[in-house]
């Protein structure tokens, strides 16, 4: 059993907005094992990005975060700013959707990687520069020595994302969190970036958390999947199990709404994404669920084992056997 590098327990994140408190994350439990690629799937209001921004300590001060986040045994919630600065980039890294805003336009690419290296490791400038070029090579940038001396605007979108990945893995972190890293990229470039992430994983043994709304991407690279809705986990499991026999109505609805070859009519999930200022009571999905019963409006269902999956649907046993989507 692989060791757990990231353990999140009962994570709650609340924002104070002019319209009142908004609880974006309402009790999330999550584990990431060493070397695995965990896919986190969800739509607007699911809290998937906020959960990991909270883990990284990147939320604004007015956000209230409670719960426990253990990274290789170290507690991150409530850690001091100094502690977090030491953790970020060294044990835990995060990359985002837009590579251009992640890079400083007035510094050369090589310098930005070296800076990351030297802020956590005791390297001379020359060694750091050398390592920077090596990293560019690992992420697949051709002529890395020359390109290290260029500026971000001289790179295309896909290349920039590779650079961002290079910076993120420079110090060999235990966990890399990728928040919609390919959403803004063309599909052929997306394929390249996913391949880079897989390659990096193989080489360094980094655990990766891939946050996305694209189930195809998950199907391609993830080992395990975590489905989130309205600030909570609703289903968890291995990729094969989840796609073969999803147990939660939301996951089923999501899979059923995807266009597939053949011209059958698409089956959307009725209703609208939840308003997190005033989410529905109990299981937040009950307003859109075709299997909703009175019990669903009561308490928020916990995540419990169900066969080889974990599900937060109290009626999971009673649901008809799901059609396989594979």
């Amino acid at each position: 059993m692989a060791e757990k590098v990231l353990e999140i327990r009962d994570l709650h994140v609340t924002f104070d907005t002019p319209s009142g408190p908004l609880e974006a994350v309402r009790g999330v439990d999550l584990d990431v094992s060493a070397g695995e690629l965990l896919g986190v799937v969800g739509e607007s209001g699911s809290g998937k990005s906020v959960s990991f921004l909270a883990t990284m300590g990147l939320l604004p001060a007015r956000a209230r975060v409670t719960g426990s986040v253990l990274l290789a045994g170290e507690q991150l919630i409530g850690a001091s700013a100094k502690q977090m600065r030491s953790v970020r980039g060294r044990l835990l890294s995060m990359i985002f959707q837009d590579p251009l805003s992640a890079l400083n336009p007035v510094h050369r690419i090589g310098d930005q990687i070296s800076e990351m290296l030297r802020s956590h490791q005791n390297l001379s400038a020359r060694d750091a520069d050398k390592r920077a070029v090596e990293l560019l090579d690992i992420v697949g940038i051709p002529q890395p020595g020359d390109r290290a001396r260029q500026y971000p605007h001289e790179f295309s979108g896909g290349m920039r994302q590779r650079v961002v990945i290079a910076i993120a893995i420079a110090n060999n972190p235990k966990v890399l969190i990728a928040d919609e890293p390919t959403t803004a990229l063309d599909v052929t470039v997306q394929a390249q970036i996913l391949e880079v992430i897989e390659r990096v994983q193989e080489r360094f043994g980094t655990a990766v958390v891939l946050i996305t709304h694209d189930l195809g991407v998950i199907a391609r690279v993830a080992d395990r999947v975590n489905v989130m809705y309205a600030g909570r986990n609703v289903e968890q499991g291995t990729i094969e199990s989840l796609f073969d026999h999803p147990s939660h109505p939301y996951t089923r609805g999501l899979l059923a709404s995807l266009p597939r070859p053949g011209k059958q009519r698409l089956k959307p999930i009725t209703g609208f994404p939840p308003n997190m200022l005033n989410p529905p009571s109990g299981c937040a999905f009950h307003t859109r669920c075709e299997y909703a019963a009175d019990i669903c409006k009561g308490e928020m269902p916990p995540l419990v084992g169900f066969g080889d999956l974990q599900t937060a649907c109290v009626r999971a046993k009673e649901l008809p056997k799901s059609e396989s989507f594979v």
């Binding site: 290349m159 599909v187 052929t188 195809g216 199907a219 990729i239 995807l258 698409l266 999930i269 994404p273």
Partner: protein, 324 residues
């Protein structure tokens, strides 16, 4: 009587970039669309797919003359649009409309939903009180009458997109250009909006030009598909043929790159990985524009530009060494 609604022939759009390169001022030409030709029949849906720089969005806007084409002709119901003056064009605009990608920017935040939907009729000078029509349109797209008094910011992305559709339908157009209409929406909401498009088409019989980069959605809704790369159509034909038996290497690579929501298939697939990035449309490669990333490229590809040729399976593609 011909069932051909729209005919585009050799459409070209070049943009001028004024670049200040130090002391010298160079004028760069961005060849956004180069010699694009296709037609759309009544009640048909043409999918236009491509990645960034393909020119698909520019084609959509040129058809509606929201952008003026550099050359080429766009014939709508037999009329050559480029020869029309402002007033004549305005009369034809009733019949061709557009739905945009960004549900947040496509509605004026200061106008009520009802006012936005009524705007086409007001601008076109349709007389009378339009409140009945507004209610009819709102219900047609799955919203309710009391939404008319509200403002865009009170609605979710999917709802705003439906409002945009209602506005596009206000004048009963024969052709609607759908410019990435579901890309900005949540996946579970996309299906509902796509169903709406299909229902409207079977009810009202209009044609669609569905511009998207999401190949799965296009496969679902389109009758015919045109694949664009760097301003040119590289493959065009029936949806089934193009998806099942792609003849152009780029189409093949594109289809191979799209991740399918099925782990077993995904892990087993042989993926064609394209090297490098899409070249800049400022200086497209000579000959075949795809040759810099094509694994089959030979000398002839740089010297001679391939023309669209009919293939055995029925579609047309522009390649010297087509796939079979």
């Amino acid at each position: 009587m011909s069932s051909e609604l729209l005919k585009v022939t050799n459409l070209v759009k070049n943009f001028e970039l004024r670049v200040n390169n130090g002391a010298r001022r160079k004028k760069r030409i961005v060849q956004a669309v180069t010699n694009v030709s296709f037609s759309v029949d009544k009640g048909q849906t043409l999918g236009l797919v491509g990645e960034s720089g393909s020119g698909k969005t520019t084609v959509g806007r040129c058809i509606l003359r929201l952008i003026e084409p550099t050359s080429g002709s766009v014939e709508f119901e037999g009329h050559d649009l480029s020869s029309l003056k402002f007033e004549e064009m305005r009369a034809l605009r009733r019949k061709m409309q557009i739905v945009f990608q960004d549900p947040f920017a496509s509605l004026d935040p200061k106008m009520t939903v009802g006012a936005s939907i009524t705007e086409p009729m007001v601008v076109q000078g349709v007389p009378g009180d339009h409140s009945d029509k507004v209610i009819e349109l709102l219900e047609l797209v799955g919203l309710s009458a009391d939404h008319a008094q509200r403002f865009p910011h009170e609605f979710s992305g999917g709802q705003r997109q439906r409002i945009g559709v209602a506005r596009a339908l206000a004048l009963n157009p024969a052709l609607i250009v759908l410019d990435e209409p579901v890309s900005a929406l949540d996946v579970s909401i996309q299906a509902g909006v796509v169903n709406l498009f299909e229902d409207l088409q079977s009810r009202l019989g209009m044609s669609y030009i569905f511009i998207a980069h999401d190949l799965s959605v296009v496969q679902h809704i389109a009758d015919r598909v045109a694949v664009m790369y760097l301003g040119k159509i590289v493959e065009i034909g029936d949806q089934e043929s193009v998806y099942a038996r792609p003849t152009h290497p780029y189409t093949k690579a594109l289809l191979s790159a799209v991740p399918l929501p099925d782990p077993k298939i995904e892990r087993a697939r042989h993926r064609i990985m394209l090297e490098g990035d899409v070249p800049s449309p400022v200086n497209p490669p000579s000959g075949c524009r795809f040759r810099t990333r094509c694994w089959k490229a030979q000398d002839v590809c740089a010297q001679e530009e391939p023309m669209l040729t009919v293939r055995p399976s029925g579609q047309m593609s522009a390649c010297h060494f087509p796939e079979s």
